[in-house]
Symmetry: C2
Subunit: 581 residues, 2 copies
């Protein structure tokens, strides 16, 4: 490509609403242009990156035996009514009516349509397993679209769906995808982690997220530097502490703590470590009658160490809380504890509560908690002596750095990531709701076992930038750079030697299949270099009049601090030897 024939639209300034670096740099580099909230034009420079991402994904999906098709962007609502999502999903599902007032949705994903395809086309176990995927425009009407392509409303997603005879086969299909995702992410040239994830509301029990590591990521990733263990914060298990509980050393003591209603304040006031305090969190669950009205409510007390945070996903798995819970109301707290929040504890309750004790709290001795009396805490609290041994002990807290790794291979660390891919074992959630069956070997209809597998195609470039940039701009990995090499001739219009050398080098690289752009715009060196550093082309060759006449060119990788002189005759080979894609 010659720059004069392309559309290069770099900007000095980022738009005021660009909060994150990828949004700022993609806009300044002319890769995207905002058309509306969360809706972007993919400009020529950005589209080249997106197409390279698509190509890698497509090649690896095909290699893994998946078959590509395309499902419509605008889908009849009837399929979504069948699965129940037309009613269940909130306003993020964009609903639209056609000229005949029939309901449609603009697809956010395609579980329903692909399940319809399966129930029509996959009639026999002989056709299984099958994995169908598409790379297609999606729409989610986000309440607060932001961060450019990171959280847009219209985006491109690769969504794949596997169909299997039984659970064992479905798990093999899942594994094939998880492997394919590793190959895809390896090829992108990004630092990433595959982390165990909670399968959440969508059902099933196997789920991994592919997270691109970036300090600015929205997600916390828990990993073990000494092993392969990685999980997101929701999922990462806090092991039960090793060894026995220490014996009680101190008496139970009623201690005035005037105005000290947080564990941190109490610990400081008493001069004890925060880790010796215990916080009380009060939840409630409701039983509903047939009309959906609250028939009865139960109050729950959760005990966590003062320096730990509650993990809502884990709490949602505790038996009794797994059908939904809420925080208790002030009257509920008052009626059970006889006290306002800030001084609550498990001893001296007015009415009994369901007690759930974090694994860590269950092995503490001589701890501090609220006294169920304003401005009073208890110190020297001990299980078995001051209150009964806990019967309901569970992992209900977030991991913190330094916790033991669940695989026993050391201690855990935490870093930030951006979720770009997700592999998910779905089970029969959709095949049951949509009555999608095949005839098994025994001649009987069975529900498909399904998995679903997404990659955020347009999100990936943004994540790559969050991970790879400096103060001058983007630094693309070779595999997804809009161009791999840029040839920058200086004074091409004045020096026939520079022009000849540039044209020759450009043709040479093109012939060798290198994705090269020749900057023939006639910009001054400063502006030209600034453009390419902003755009982030990883390899640059500069040709100047004096150098060319002396048979020299200059090579500089985007991460190099200075250029290297290379004989002109060898520069094509020099750059080719440095390409990683």
């Amino acid at each position: 490509m010659k720059a004069s024939q392309f559309l290069i639209t770099t900007l000095k300034e980022a738009p005021a609403d660009a909060e994150v670096v990828s949004h700022r740099l993609m806009t300044r580099a002319g890769m995207i242009r905002k058309l509306g909230a969360g809706i972007y034009n993919y400009m020529p420079m950005g589209l080249r990156v997106i197409r390279k991402v698509e190509r890698i994904v497509r090649e690896e999906m095909n290699r893994a035996g998946a078959v590509e098709l395309t499902m419509p962007v605008v889908q009849p609502a009837e399929f979504w009514q069948e699965s129940g999502r037309f009613e269940k999903m909130g306003p993020e599902l964009m609903r639209v009516k056609d000229r005949h007032d029939r309901d449609f949705v603009v697809q956010p994903t395609s579980e329903e349509v692909v399940t319809d395809i399966a129930r029509q086309e996959l009639r026999s176990y002989k056709q299984l397993p099958k994995n169908l995927y598409q790379i297609q425009t999606k729409f989610r009407d986000e309440r607060r679209p932001r961060f450019g392509l990171m959280r847009g409303r219209e985006f491109i997603m690769k969504d794949a769906y596997s169909f299997d005879r039984d659970e064992a086969s479905a798990k093999r299909s899942y594994e094939v995808m998880a492997q394919a995702y590793r190959r895809i992410f390896d090829r992108f040239g990004l630092k990433y982690r595959a982390v165990a994830a909670d399968s959440g509301a969508i059902g099933g029990d196997l789920s991994e997220e592919f997270q691109v590591i970036a300090a600015t990521g929205e997600d916390a990733i828990v990993y073990c530097p000494g092993s392969d263990y990685a999980a997101n914060l929701e999922k990462a298990e806090a092991l039960a502490p090793q060894g026995p509980r220490p014996a009680p050393a101190n008496p139970l003591t009623r201690t005035p703590t005037p105005g000290k209603s947080t564990c941190a304040d109490v610990a400081q006031f008493l001069g004890v470590p925060l880790a010796t305090t215990v916080k009380s969190i009060v939840l409630a669950t409701d039983t509903l009658d047939d009309a959906g009205a609250v028939k009865a409510s139960k109050v729950w007390l959760l005990l966590l160490r003062g320096d730990h945070d509650m993990n809502e996903v884990k709490v949602g798995k505790v038996p009794g809380l797994d059908q939904g819970w809420r925080f208790a109301t002030p009257p509920e707290i008052e009626s059970h504890f006889g006290c306002r929040p800030g001084y609550l504890g498990p001893i001296g309750l007015k009415r009994p509560v369901e007690l759930v004790v974090d694994r860590e709290v269950a092995v503490m001795a001589d701890w501090v908690c609220g006294g169920n009396e304003a401005d009073v805490h208890l110190t020297g609290v001990n299980w078995g002596r001051d209150l009964p041994e806990p019967t309901r002990v569970a992992d209900i807290r977030n991991i913190v750095e330094g916790d033991a790794s669940p695989d026993g291979q050391g201690v855990l660390a935490i870093e930030r990531g951006i979720e770009i891919g997700h592999v998910f074992y779905l089970g029969t959630k959709y095949s049951r709701s949509m009555a999608a069956t095949f005839l098994d070997e025994d001649g009987k209809p069975k529900h498909f076992e399904m998995g679903c597998y997404g990659i955020g195609i347009t999100r990936l470039p943004a994540a790559a930038i969050e991970q790879n940039h400096d103060e001058r701009g983007i630094i693309w990995p070779d595999a997804i750079a809009p161009f791999t090499v840029v040839v920058c001739p200086i004074g091409m219009d004045r020096s026939p030697e520079v022009k000849a050398a540039a044209d020759n080098l450009y043709s040479q690289l093109l012939e060798q299949g290198v994705d090269v752009i020749l900057d023939d715009r006639g910009e001054r060196p400063g502006a030209m270099f600034a453009d390419w550093e902003l755009i982030g082309v990883p390899h640059r060759i500069t040709l100047g009049d004096r150098g060319v006449k002396a048979g020299q060119a200059e090579y500089q990788h985007r991460r190099d601090s200075a250029a290297t002189a290379v004989p002109l005759a060898e520069v094509a080979a020099h750059v080719k030897a440095r390409l990683t894609a």
Copy 2:
């Protein structure tokens, strides 16, 4: 590709609603599946064809210097309000509201958004000319979607838009695209014509349609077998007849024609050629007041030869009718002609009308027309003698076979076509309505001169099938076949020799870059051949046990009536020599 890993979903029967052969065959071949009215899944077999079409279009667009980008499917209505199309377009424009009740459209084309991009990014004449294109999902909420991909609601279109400094440059950009379209259509391997088209309501005066020739096509194409001349029926000019008008030979005679109200009936009744009769068509035009109410109306009489049809596009260009016209109402006809339709004519009117005479009628002598009296016609009618010489003579009829070619190179023929591409000089229609300007060399802002250029990516496979099929199924040109070659082993499970030969041949062809599929499904020969003939793969190699053991294979092109024996060792070279893409 191995068939067992792909998704082959052929059907014995076409759906009841499939009216045209391409819809029937694409459905039976498992290329598309209907999801809703005019909305289709592109199944794996069909998507391969679509992707090949896309690739050819993309390569030639790039070669022609156009630059690819992607504009959103869901577009904010504000741009469409700016151009006026949000209000002007009918319900075929799909409008949708987001969660904040803001208006959006699902793009049917992208003139507005690309014009917005141009006014932001193309600031200087130095950046011109520029041609921006996308290959993207479009939606048109057709009143009556039908014919499968031929007239769907959701479809993929390549839409390109050129931006130029002035009209001369815009016409060069137009010409570059018209040439690129010829290369694209040549590469598809289809019989097509580029025909002059009317530029219609969109404005401008240069327009060509690319029509794939097919007997089932919706459009009539007028062409000259002795020259390059081709135009669609709306556009093709009917020349004024050569030579002088014959002298009157017969007297004007009032002739009773009881119950004969059509030219054909009258001609038969009188025993004269239909070409000696003249039909009267009565139109009306309205003048509106400021409130849009009809202030005054004018009645027009159009005279055409009895065997000719009125051309509405040409009528719409007659001065006085070019701001819109309608057919006259029965009361209007009665009050001007004193007679009901069927016996109308230009002689003996009750009130004057505006007369428009077709070129052909203007040179007729001794003609027949209605007598403005029920059951009466006039014969021996002559200009100058029985009524004044016509003052308003125009080409207002459709061409018929045998008319003289406008280029003087013989007579015209008519064939049917399917419109697949359109190149259009737009002028400043959009740049003016959206105030899109650049700074010209003189430092002054000027409106862009624009052109737009479409290709119906998903319509093309349907058109290709309308042109290329037989009673057994589709016959793809090599360039856009889902697979170019199919290897059909017979009894692969029973004969290790067949299996080895098939695997070997498959690998050999793959290595040579041939797009080959190996049918390893284990189907019986009859069902296997029927599938591939239905799907329309152009080249087939069959391997049987006896043949393989004798070192023989069989090659058959989809158009051949029988297979040819080819030595097994040479069959790869044999088939390769026959590939055209």
